[in-house]
């Protein structure tokens, strides 16, 4: 069990800045995020896009902002549970919470801050009736542990970076790769696209443009797929298909946590951004209130106010006096957070 003061769900910009503001008040944070790297949609969807409305930065790339926020949070040694989705929340008798992830990792804290943005990113799944029968039995939406697939022949669908990068990776490792894409334009980086065509010319890859996987066949696991092009239908024998169509956000299990929801967002009180469940806060794009704007800068403000009430919940007998960072500087934590303690 991971113990901390504040469990932050979502390691996007607002979640990361919460670590800093909480740290100034000597509160420890642990972040949980469904995607394997911090940064949320800034890192996942638009790392190379410039942002122009961060105060003090006339322009900053989304990816750079994430790097800066990580650096700013670093003195407060946040913990991370990445690549796992926060699935359930249980209130304990002592009013603290246990948050459990999709992989069963448990986190224990008196305060939960949901900075979940648009929700957790889930792979876009193709609309094929029996696809569910083959999930993890030849059909994989995410390439985990690539070693086990190296050298095997496979089909990869998609036109983005993920599809192209993996197609190139496996073709270079000795696999024969069928790359199936709905058009002949690839969203992926130009260098990747030219590399893919080189590998195709070298006989290590076949690029099927204007094609889509339409049918899956197999007894207990995948044995062949049918692709449809404008002119024809083709059967490809394969026991591996990676449909890599990117990720789309879903509010997901948080929607079932007994929180008041309005149009896919969590309703909060603007006094401290607490939800209808005391001790559970929602900040950033995931919340809603009269006048809400989905802006990073508003999320920063919300995080700052939310940790004030968090402090009072965690330290009911203490009074915190705001001190400017110009006066007291930033005093980080010297030791790492208690990673594991006995489950009491």
């Amino acid at each position: 069990m991971i113990k901390t003061d504040i469990i932050i769900i979502g390691a996007g910009p607002v979640g990361l800045f919460t670590v800093f503001e909480a740290g100034l008040m000597k509160l420890r944070c642990h972040l949980i995020d469904a995607i394997p790297q911090p940064g949320g949609q800034l890192a996942e969807i638009y790392p190379k896009k410039p942002i122009y409305d961060i105060p003090g930065y006339p322009t900053v790339l989304a990816g750079e902002l994430v790097d800066n926020l990580m650096e700013q949070a670093a003195p407060f040694k946040p913990g991370f549970t990445l690549g796992e989705r926060a699935d359930s929340i249980e209130k304990q008798e002592d009013e603290t919470f246990i948050v459990t992830t999709s992989k069963g990792t448990q986190h224990h804290a008196p305060v939960v801050m949901i900075a979940g943005g648009l929700g957790s990113f889930e792979p876009r799944k193709p609309l094929i009736d029996n696809i569910i029968d083959f999930e993890e039995k030849g059909v994989y939406y995410i390439v985990k542990d690539p070693d086990q697939f190296e050298g095997k022949d496979m089909v990869i669908s998609g036109g983005g970076d993920s599809a192209l990068d993996w197609a190139i990776y496996f073709a270079e490792k000795g696999s024969f790769v069928h790359l199936v894409h709905r058009s002949d334009r690839f969203r992926a980086h130009k260098d990747s696209v030219s590399r893919a065509y080189e590998l195709a010319a070298a006989g290590k890859m076949e690029i099927h443009a204007f094609a889509e996987v339409k049918e899956l066949n197999g007894e207990n696991s995948l044995s062949s797929i049918e692709i449809h092009t404008k002119e024809e239908k083709k059967i490809i024998s394969t026991d591996l298909w990676f449909p890599l169509f990117g990720l789309s956000p879903k509010l997901g299990p948080i929607g079932e946590w007994g929180l008041e929801i309005d149009k896919n967002a969590i309703v909060v009180d603007t006094f401290d951004y607490q939800t209808n469940r005391p001790g559970v806060f929602a900040i950033g794009d995931v919340n809603t209130y009269p006048g809400k704007l989905k802006l990073i800068l508003c999320g920063f403000h919300e995080a700052t106010l939310a940790v004030q009430t968090a402090y009072k919940i965690i330290n009911p007998d203490k009074k915190f006096t705001l001190k400017y960072t110009t006066v007291q500087g930033v005093q980080g934590f010297e030791d790492e957070q208690t990673k594991e303690t006995v489950n009491s």
Partner: protein, 108 residues
């Protein structure tokens, strides 16, 4: 001085909604739909990165031209048809007087 235009949006139940929209407010079709409380999410905020604002352009003459980002997104989206466009990539201009679109089904 630009005038307002009239557009029609057919929702997912087949109901037609007629709106009068200003052309001088730098709006796009996704924002108009959201503004009139139609069930359009516009998740990515208009960066052509989620396809939640996909529409089918019914009045052919208003199809316009897809841009590169839009094409790339539509290559990976659901329920794409010949006349699919992303609402967020359609700026509201005087030329769109009489525009008629239907909302594409919600992605699963």
């Amino acid at each position: 001085m630009s005038a307002d235009i009239n557009i029609t949006v057919v929702d997912r139940e087949g109901t037609e909604h007629e709106f009068t929209v200003p052309t001088d407010m730098n709006l796009n079709l996704m924002e108009v739909c959201k503004g009139f409380e139609l069930p359009v999410e516009g998740t990515c905020g208009g960066m052509a990165m989620c396809a939640s604002c996909q529409v089918y352009v019914i009045s052919d003459e208003h199809f316009g031209e897809r841009n590169d980002d839009e094409e790339a997104m539509l290559d990976e989206a659901y329920f794409v048809q010949e006349n699919s466009r992303l609402g967020c990539q359609i700026p509201i201009t005087p030329e769109l007087e009489g525009l008629k679109v239907a909302l594409a089904p919600q992605a699963p």
